[in-house]
Subunit: 176 residues, 3 copies
Amino acid sequence: MNQKRKSFFQSIKERDPAAKSILQIILLYPGVQAVFWYRIAHFFYKINLKFIAYFIMFWVRNILNIEIHPAAKIGKRLFIDHGTGVVIGETTEIGDDVLIYHGVTLGGTGKHQGKRHPTIKNNVIIGAGVKILGPVTIGENSKIGANAVVITDVPSNSTAVGVPAVIKENGKPVSE
Amino acid sequence: MNQKRKSFFQSIKERDPAAKSILQIILLYPGVQAVFWYRIAHFFYKINLKFIAYFIMFWVRNILNIEIHPAAKIGKRLFIDHGTGVVIGETTEIGDDVLIYHGVTLGGTGKHQGKRHPTIKNNVIIGAGVKILGPVTIGENSKIGANAVVITDVPSNSTAVGVPAVIKENGKPVSE
Amino acid sequence: MNQKRKSFFQSIKERDPAAKSILQIILLYPGVQAVFWYRIAHFFYKINLKFIAYFIMFWVRNILNIEIHPAAKIGKRLFIDHGTGVVIGETTEIGDDVLIYHGVTLGGTGKHQGKRHPTIKNNVIIGAGVKILGPVTIGENSKIGANAVVITDVPSNSTAVGVPAVIKENGKPVSE
């Protein structure tokens, strides 16, 4: 899937059948607005104006119901659909073209120091209500089924479902 | 259960032991307010003033934390209790006297076109955190247990629990 | 664990690696703010100014996305982390030093009268998305894994995971 040259708005229209126009997406998609504000907050965080960064994301969380730590590293064309209840932790890393539904947590287990949140590779789809906890890696093109709880690595091109998640279709191991 | 002639407020008092008065329900029940605004937005949607419909529901989602697509079809006396995180998709159909708790998704799987969200029949109760995905039908009087994930039809008078959901007490098959 | 003399803010810093300063916690932690407003609302509830109590918690729910019934009984140093989607019911009792993540429900099953919500003992940790339903007791120092559904008592020093939850490491039975 060569999505590199695809525009962000075109990628959303392809991923959400209910999206009708660019104006609708800009004005009425809370997930799009939250990622937009995250990028501003992440800039302030990197130049060490951390309180401004936290303040922006605090109000984004309260108004849009989507919580993204300003220190998280997020790739291109992340689309958070619906978004209420999403929590993305401080040391999370997200690749390109990732699709995250509402109620998803990319969080910690309380057992790790330093890097303690997940790494999500390109083209991953994470279903509604999924909790991915700890410094685990979800490989490229994998899908996590709704309400699954993932506390181990998931290889590329796989599907994980259940509480805790069972990996149902193993693909090639993650190459990097 | 002949609830046809029951008033909406009386039906809520029967379903929520914490509800004390009609004034309290009107002023302080976000689920009641969200359905009220949905009915206004649905009217605008049907007369093709779709942007107004989307705009209303965008702010209902942000303020009340309940997301209902204005095109969804909803019957009488739907009661959404607590409501934070509820997402009801574009082609969802809901019957009469349905009770939905917070965190419930009536959503799509990404695999269907056109009708791609669930159909919920009369008198169904959907527990907190449940995800019902795809154009499946939940039969009359059935109950879905908390955090269950439902991706197949559930017959009438049944209970479904687990991830993915197992139907525990089969009733009569849905007649329509 | 003698946490009796520990300050509330120190206890949060120990429990959340992302917490950097007291000012940050006061201004930017929705879970801390929600419990603060709950304590005010609980005061009004106890002196029978219930509408004021409900009104405060209605707006706390809408703005901070955390719903606590003003009649609930909550001990010292409760820390609600992230918090979006938390619902704490009318007859819930929570001990000291409890840690609750976002998406947690302490709710009812619809089958009980009077005391119909859970009792949570000291030092319990409740993971993201957990639903604890009915007048069950979670014993001291126990942990409930993410997205678990708990509808029975959990003894002290145990871990419960799954839908419905399986208790994985039984400890001593709760002594009271």
